[in-house]
Symmetry: C2
Subunit: 724 residues, 2 copies
């Protein structure tokens, strides 16, 4: 029973209700994702033979972002008598959701005050002990029928307050309790201070039914915008909707006006301590094309932390802005420098903070937002500055190698966290991680494109503010073209320079010995070995490129960099790395499904189904309890939205290139493209794209290599061949 | 010497420097508005014949919004010897800027902590005693040449900390002190908590020269965007720039990410206690066409307070949203209900909160922003909802009068605060204030237009969220058409119903007797009379209409409402009300200048010059010390920008209709219209409009009744006749 709506009861002669103390006759728990409501029904018999039914509905309002409510109905089936209901506000909660963190201090709230508000209200205020945010809660609890209530008394302890409501319960007559809670923090906007606002919200309080009504409408509208219809696969449809639900729980209208990022384990997961990594990259494609105001707000989260990123670059001797791999409230680096291997019990130095590629993610996300929305004002005011400062960082971290006449980036870690340095060396990081270098090249080119879109005046402003020169921007293009990409074998992109020289790993042997080898790094460390020695990846590192870019765009990037690109580049590399990955990351399956979408549709579907299961089946064996895997959830949604449809917003054209796996008969999307709604229907046989009536001019829709023009209200229909 | 950069010195044998204790040989104070720098130079001789020169430059950074800095240079002209410099942070400040508030509690800061940071830093944190915001400051003070410094010691008191720096001062050798201060509050974004952030900013501190450089670039860019060139009138140009400077000090890039409105006395004025009225209406036209991100942020300030405005409407039995006349942090009504007449010493009941017209202002501002920027996403996501909820309020406060078959609005006060009820009655407010009813009619029509622009899907969402029906929206159009407007005499719009029946006021007699009769209300109240009895206005109430709308647009509004509109309507009403206004409001002169711009250019220029003088000459005799008059400042700027040029953004057309007063030879503007820069040059002889190269399609430019199309990079030139 979550802590911010605590509500319980006891018989006058008994203990507070505990599911463990009664005989459970029936138990049903249902999360209604359509209207964001958690329902629990439990029928039970106690030691004295009293049978009761309890029905509970609870919501955290999507319409009134400061409110939550619970409706609790107790029916005495075969008894009558006095009971006591306890309705509390609890500020004594601790973070105990992750077993291996429990030895650390999980106490984050200092109690400030408790008190009563009128007859039926209680309030609590606490302060976070590091960031010193004040949070105030006020609750109002009402009993129906009102005559059932006999008396209320208040019980208080530091950081905790409750009302005990003595009620008379009559056989077969449901006793209904409505409790609503208002919560404000000192960071909220449009407030005087949190205690006053939570009190006044409760004083103006609506009934549970009214709150539920507004909440349900808000959810209905979110679904209108965000649902993705899958024909012919009920299980996938079901899980996909659960994923969309969790994405929207994490970031939606309610978070637009908060200064928040996308935490990799959602809002309720305690793993990674709420840190912000790069997961927004996976949720952006959905939100850009549905609720671009949300992605704008998420980009502003990054923009506000640009000064800190500039400082971080400067502190390391670089120019521009270097965003941290893990960050929190003030945008500084928060990555751990030691990591506990639960297998060996050893604290191991952790070097994964050197994932500078997060900077490319941020630039990529700005550009994707711009391509999807056409929001030139955002690009001009904020976006271009971020892209430029990141390009500048890449230009300064790259150094010229005169032997190769190529630029190189050393000392970094790629998305694959198994590889953090070369075996047998002390130096941290790797040389020329292919993903990093190619992304950096893309950013360096993108910065020029972004500056070109600004118009003369804003461009001049930015040049003066950032002390830019034409020479410097020209050097970015030059460095971008000449970044080094390592290859080995026949056209295999080396994950990093020297990857091909590492030992092959004995996958079969270890699988036989250990079963689950997702966390190979921990297994090897416990054995006194290191995964750095092997061609073994935790997650698809090189393959991320095929996930982020279409084949057409990658061909352009490779051409610009002067490296060969053939139709075999993708399948060959996919093949190579698929056999050298432990899938220690939930994201890995999404990427593998994606990259196989065109070459091996059956296997792609298999990876997709495994990725769908990440959290509903907790396939990592226990990590779901530590929080959902937001990136993987978002990835599965995006796999349907963009992977299987080939949807792409590039160069002012809305591209498609559908290729549905066999079990997927149909995908139906409604996307918001450049301020207007577009209906997209993909089946095995055809693609249909319809622009709404408000579309102001002809739209450009690309299918493979052709560009079609479509007018407002028109439908473009294209027949598909079965081979994609 | 303002309190957040306190810095002083003394001779080893003397008291802390006080301008009153020395013989001042030279004193010069200059505010450099071009780069936002305050400079003071003072040369003085003390009782012992020591002559010294002190030069001080101070900035509050426009580039680094958390930083301020001071550079302080002392030159011992004819002496050498030890001195002590005191550098403090002072949290004991009180609000004492307004004499008549001094009997009230002016103490708002509770001390929290003081401390040292390293060798040369001090810090202070305080908490506001009502809103419980934490504010932390950290300061770093350095002496140049460093060898001059002998010793530092720290002195502390509750809410106050200082370092005393013992220095050796050498004859003719300037001793330079740089002090920089960082300030953070608990409401800031992208922070951990204020103390940590202010410390870390100071630790990373730049030199005064570096801070000044960034600050100067930021100001240069603000001027690039916001300067208005006036040919042929240096004094007007000078004061106009001072006004633009103050507008930008109050709201600019630095305030975009704060949740702040436009306080009528700027940020440093204590009069009206920082309350938000309707002054944003006057600053919007400048910012919409220069830095629309700022107006977007100011509209978001209102949007965040929409729930409170809904509550206020509901509490009074209305529907929709009723924004308050005066408001603060949480958007509730903050108007005084008693008002002190300093003349009589009496506390008089104050009914001016019934200025419901502020709601029309907000809807009007949303629409103006949309017309200037074309920001459809803002209109869809936020703007339309505000307009609709305000329309709904107007529809519900209006009641049908079957005798007239007209809708009426009773119990309100118009912009003219002299009239708050009918003489001899108890009932509060007036019937059918013309300004209010016509604005309400405009809003009720505008709501339909806004809904039409949303597209089917968003329109449906909004209908469901707000429980709207087609019947309800149709009723708005109906009510808007049938709102009653009172007239008297021959085509005189009555300020409110019955205004024409009030007694004429003896203007000449009272002017002879009292001289300045701007605050006629106070004079009459002190005499036991009331201004409610007379046809006497504090400010142009009816005339505001001619300020907000072009004659063309008003003709449309009147036609829709079924009232006559003739070419004489404006001059006749201007004539009537000009003689019945005391100019008790600084805004009044702006409006009068505006409405005379076409009919009496000489008088218009006279009013303009008086309005320009409002604050530089403190024409109300002392109110400038209580804070600048932001609305009047903005109004003078807008008078040049829109009044004399006839610039209007309406129905997707950029309109002009220039008419410069004779002393004004030329006006040069650069405006940002729909995401692109447009150069506008108006002289007595011609109008020139040039669209920049990035303009994507042909623009529509209206001149009087004709619409011209202009392509990117083209210049439209129109010859003007001397009669306008």
């Amino acid at each position: 029973w979550p802590n911010w709506l605590p509500l319980s009861f006891r018989h006058a002669d008994g203990d507070w209700f505990d599911l463990g103390d009664v005989e459970v006759l029936e138990f049903r728990q249902a999360l209604d994702v359509r209207c964001g409501t958690l329902r629990r029904t439990v029928r039970f018999r106690d030691g004295r033979g009293r049978e009761s039914a309890l029905e509970v509905r609870r919501i955290v309002s999507m319409a009134d972002c400061h409110q939550a409510a619970i409706e609790w109905t107790l029916t005495a089936e075969n008894w009558s008598g006095p009971i006591e209901i306890r309705t509390a506000l609890d500020g004594t909660v601790r973070n105990e959701g992750v077993a291996r963190y429990r030895a650390l201090n999980g106490w984050h709230l200092e109690p400030l005050a408790t008190g009563c508000i009128g007859e039926d209200g209680i309030e609590l205020s606490v302060r976070t002990n590091q960031s010193r945010l004040t949070m105030a809660q006020a609750a109002r609890t009402r009993v129906f029928p009102a005559e059932a209530e006999r008396e209320r008394r208040t019980v208080e302890a530091p950081g905790w307050i409750a009302q005990i409501i003595a009620c008379e319960c009559r056989k077969q007559q449901p006793l209904r309790v409505e409790k609503s809670v208002a919560v404000y923090t000192s960071r909220d906007r449009a407030i005087s201070e949190p205690v006053i606002e939570s009190r006044s919200t409760i004083a103006r309080d609506s009934s549970f039914a009214e709150l539920l009504e507004r909440h349900s409408i808000a959810w209905a509208h979110l679904w209108d915008r965000c649902d993705i219809g899958l024909g012919g696969n009920d299980n996938a449809q079901f899980v996909l909707r659960l994923h969309v639900f969790h994405l929207l729980q994490t970031t939606s209208m309610s978070t637009i006006d908060l200064d928040v990022g996308v935490p990799s384990r959602g809002l309720h997961g305690e793993a990674y301590r709420g840190h912000i990594f790069w997961d927004e990259m996976f949720i952006f494609p959905l939100l850009n094309l549905r609720i671009p105001e949300v992605t704008r707000a998420l980009l502003m989260y990054r923009y506000r932390r640009l000064p800190e990123a500039r400082w971080a670059a400067r502190a390391e001797g670089y120019r521009g802005a270097m965003y941290p791999w893990q960050s929190g409230s003030n945008g500084r680096e928060e990555s751990q420098v030691l990591h506990l291997n639960p297998r060996s019990g050893r604290w191991v130095p952790d070097n994964t903070y050197r994932q500078r590629h997060v900077n490319a993610t941020i630039a990529y996300n700005v550009w994707q937002y711009y391509e999807a929305t056409g929001d030139a004002e955002f690009l001009s005011f904020y976006g271009a500055e971020m892209i430029v400062e990141i390009a500048r960082f890449w230009a300064s971290i790259a150094h010229h190698n005169p032997q190769r006449d190529r630029y190189e980036i050393h000392g970094v870690v790629g998305p694959d966290e198994f590889h953090t340095k070369y075996p047998g060396t002390e130096e941290l990081g790797l040389k020329n991680n292919a993903y990093t270098n190619i992304m950096a090249s893309w950013v360096l080119h993108c910065a020029g494109a972004a500056l070109d879109r600004l118009g003369r005046d804003r461009r001049r402003e930015l040049f003066e503010e950032l002390a830019l020169s034409d020479e410097e921007t020209a050097s970015w293009e030059e460095i971008g073209r000449k970044l080094f990409v390592p290859f080995h074998g026949e056209g295999i992109i080396s994950q990093f320079e020297g990857f091909g020289d590492l030992e092959e790993f004995d996958w079969d042997g270890y699988r036989r010995k250990h079963g689950d080898i997702q966390r190979l790094d921990r297994i090897l460390e416990a054995e006194g070995d290191t995964v750095n020695r092997y061609q073994a990846s935790k997650q698809a590192d090189v393959l991320m490129l095929f996930f982020l870019f279409s084949s057409a765009e990658l061909a352009e990037v490779f051409e610009r960099m002067g490296y060969p690109w053939t139709p075999e580049t993708i399948p060959k590399n996919v093949q190579y790395y698929l056999h050298r990955t432990s899938h220690g990351s939930t994201l890995s399956r999404v990427v593998h499904s994606w990259v196989l979408a065109r070459s091996d549709r059956e296997r792609s579907w298999g990876f997709f189904e495994r990725a769908l299961a990440s959290d509903v089946a907790d396939i990592q064996g226990g990590t779901t309890a530590e929080g959902i895997h937001l990136g993987a959830m978002a990835g599965t949604v995006d796999l349907v939205q963009r992977g299987y449809t080939g949807l792409e917003t590039r160069d002012d054209v809305l591209w498609f290139n559908p290729c549905l796996p066999e079990p997927l008969r149909e995908v139906h999307l409604r996307i918001r493209y450049r301020g207007h709604w577009v209906d997209v229907e993909v089946t095995q046989e055809r693609l249909r794209v319809r622009f709404d009536e408000t579309w102001p001019r002809t739209a450009r829709v690309g299918f493979r290599h052709e560009i079609h023009t479509v007018a407002a209200g028109e439908t473009l229909e294209i027949a598909l061949s079965p081979e994609c």
